[in-house]
Amino acid sequence: MKILITIYGDDIAPRFDQTREALIAQADGGSLIAEPRIILLPGTSGEELCGHIIKENMSHVVCGGIEDVHFQYLAWKKIKVIDGVIGPYQEALDALLADRLQPWSVLPGAVHS
């Protein structure tokens, strides 16, 4: 499983097409097999990010809001997109590895009292 999570500070980036940073992780059987790395993206563009996702052979993408044209394109390329997620990216990664991350989730770490 090769995972890309769009990030903004410590959290999931609100928008796919405004992402400047992404976390890339590799996992097998619910566990990471290498240290995740963070990449900086040269610009903010949904098309460029899609290209990067394809080029890096991602199998899963976790993101905030994503336009349908990008969502459908990635789905067409058989990439599982879990969108509308709000909260800390580490929490999202843990939930994904435990196979309990759902689209449109508001993770507990996103809520502050």
Binding site: D11, I12, P14, R15, F16, D17, Q18, T44, E47, C50, G51, I54, K55, N57, G64, G65, I66, E67, D68, V69, F71, Q72, Y73, W76, K77, K78, D83, G84, I86, Q102, W104, V106, A110, V111, H112, S113
Partner: protein, 471 residues
């Protein structure tokens, strides 16, 4: 308004009234934020736009919930949410249907009686109708977007304001592609509910179990996978209009539930024990013959009579042939502008062929054919060879599509996804769009047959049509 010091879901304002019901009355998206730009509450309109319940996003950073981008430098939304003066800035958001929606962000600080800033109020105006004036045939207000000079269409234009003046349930009938959606939306836009949501639900697109949840919502735990409460379309349409298309395909069990809503203005969400009251105007549409379905026991007679209070029947295009030329010119003007093509018009022979064509897919098929020809025609005059097969009534000319179009859309390229180039912005989209148009044109607007010819499921074709704004 004194804001609570601590983040809570108790949003009572002074004089004892409930802040939530106050902001629910505003026909735009409204969000109240604390001094750290975190959500205190939001209104139903915004819930419908962004796809989150107010309860689940209380305490979350506002910019994460709104998913907004400012016009111009595309800067972060947070810089205006933290503003200490009123600001009105245009931009866009990603809605719950993954659509980039142009909006105007209006932000004002909220101050206590002593003048201390205690938070902010964000009012989100959906300005997509203003932005899409040039190329949006659907979703535009008023009869001006429904084209027709024939006597039969004049009768419909007279009925629309009559229907708009009341809250009576309306049944719009007509063959597929006749513009039932446009009539429904025109009624809503002309009514007193125009500032409230217009929610469309296709009753034939989802299996019964999903459709019930889609319409009436569900509570957490109602079924496997229901890990949170979800408002249904009836709740999201509160104050406005719900448009139920393909009502003839509504399963019998849900027909009973709909009858209850029509009679009592209330319903139980799936798995819920508490009734929800709603104030919604219902417009239904179908291409099916409901009389026959009642006789066949597939549609309830009592529901049929409840829906059939005010009926608007849109005639097929073949019964208003004098509108064909008007429609051809209208869509030619629209598409040559949006596709930036230098096209003078149709040749006489092309017009003869089109005028004698029966358009079984009605206006939608006519529109698709014009869009196809404008795409294919290199410039100048549209000739018969630019028409898709059925409309030309002769063997189609050699395809003008690039070689990549020969690939079935469900196939991966043989080089594998890792090496497939990402198309230039618009490149792959344009190819797919042209494929869909051709399939629709060849099937006479019949989406089932078009989906089969593309090797797609009907629901996939429906999503693609929405994606490419081909409705």
């Amino acid at each position: 308004m004194e804001m609570p010091d601590k983040q809570t879901t108790d949003t009572r304002g002074p004089a004892g009234y409930d802040t939530a019901s106050l902001i629910d009355a505003v026909p735009h998206g409204v969000m109240l934020l604390d001094t750290r730009q975190r959500v205190i509450t939001l209104n139903r309109f915004l819930e419908a736009l962004i796809g989150y319940n107010r309860d689940e996003v209380t305490g979350v950073k506002g910019e994460y919930v709104i998913r907004g981008r400012l016009k111009g430098d595309g800067g972060s939304l947070n810089k205006i949410l933290a503003a200490r003066d009123h600001m009105a800035v245009e931009g866009d958001i990603i809605s719950q249907s993954r659509k980039r929606t142009p909006v105007r962000f209006n932000v004002s600080p909220l101050k206590s009686l002593s003048g201390k800033i205690q938070g902010a109020i964000l009012v989100l105006e959906d300005i997509s109708l203003l932005k899409d004036l040039g190329d949006k045939v659907h979703g535009f207000s008023g009869k001006d977007r429904i084209i027709g000079h024939s006597l039969k269409m004049q009768e419909i234009f007279e009925l629309i304001p009559i229907a708009a003046r009341t809250d009576t349930t309306v049944l719009v009938t007509g063959e597929t592609g006749t513009g039932k959606d446009l009539v429904a939306e025109a009624i809503h836009r002309a009514s007193k509910r125009s500032l409230h949501p217009f929610i469309k639900v296709n009753c034939g697109a989802l299996p019964e179990s999903l459709l019930e949840s889609e319409l009436f919502g569900h509570v957490r735990g109602a079924f496997t996978g229901a890990d949170k409460d979800k408002p249904g379309m009836f709740r999201l349409a509160h104050g406005g209009t719900i448009f139920l298309t393909e009502i003839g395909d509504l399963p019998l069990a849900l027909q009973v539930k709909l009858l209850t809503v029509l009679d009592d203005k209330e319903f139980f969400p799936v798995g819920g024990s508490k009734k929800e009251k709603i104030d919604v105007r219902i417009i239904a549409a179908t291409h099916r013959n409901l009389d026959e379905r009642v006789r066949a026991g597939q549609f309830r007679e009592d529901l049929y009579y409840r829906l059939n209070v005010l009926r608007i029947h849109i005639p097929p295009l073949r019964d208003r042939a004098d509108d064909i030329r008007l429609l051809l010119d209208h869509f030619l003007g629209t598409f040559k502008k949006s596709l930036n093509k230098n096209i003078k018009g149709f040749s006489d022979e092309t017009l003869r062929l089109l005028s004698s064509y029966p358009f079984p897919g009605n206006v939608r098929e006519l529109r698709n054919i014009v869009e196809y020809t404008v795409n294919i025609c290199p410039g100048g005059t549209i000739l018969p060879e630019h028409l898709p097969g059925l409309a030309a009534a002769e063997p189609r000319a050699a395809a003008h599509f690039p070689a990549a179009m020969a690939l079935h859309p469900g196939q991966q390229s043989t080089s594998g996804p890792a090496q497939s180039p990402v198309p230039e912005p618009g490149g792959w989209g344009e190819m797919e769009r042209a494929m869909i148009l051709e399939a629709l044109a060849n099937s006479g607007g019949n989406r089932t047959r078009a989906a089969e010819s593309l090797g797609w499921s009907r629901s996939k074709l429906w999503r693609k049509i929405k994606q490419h704004q081909l409705e």
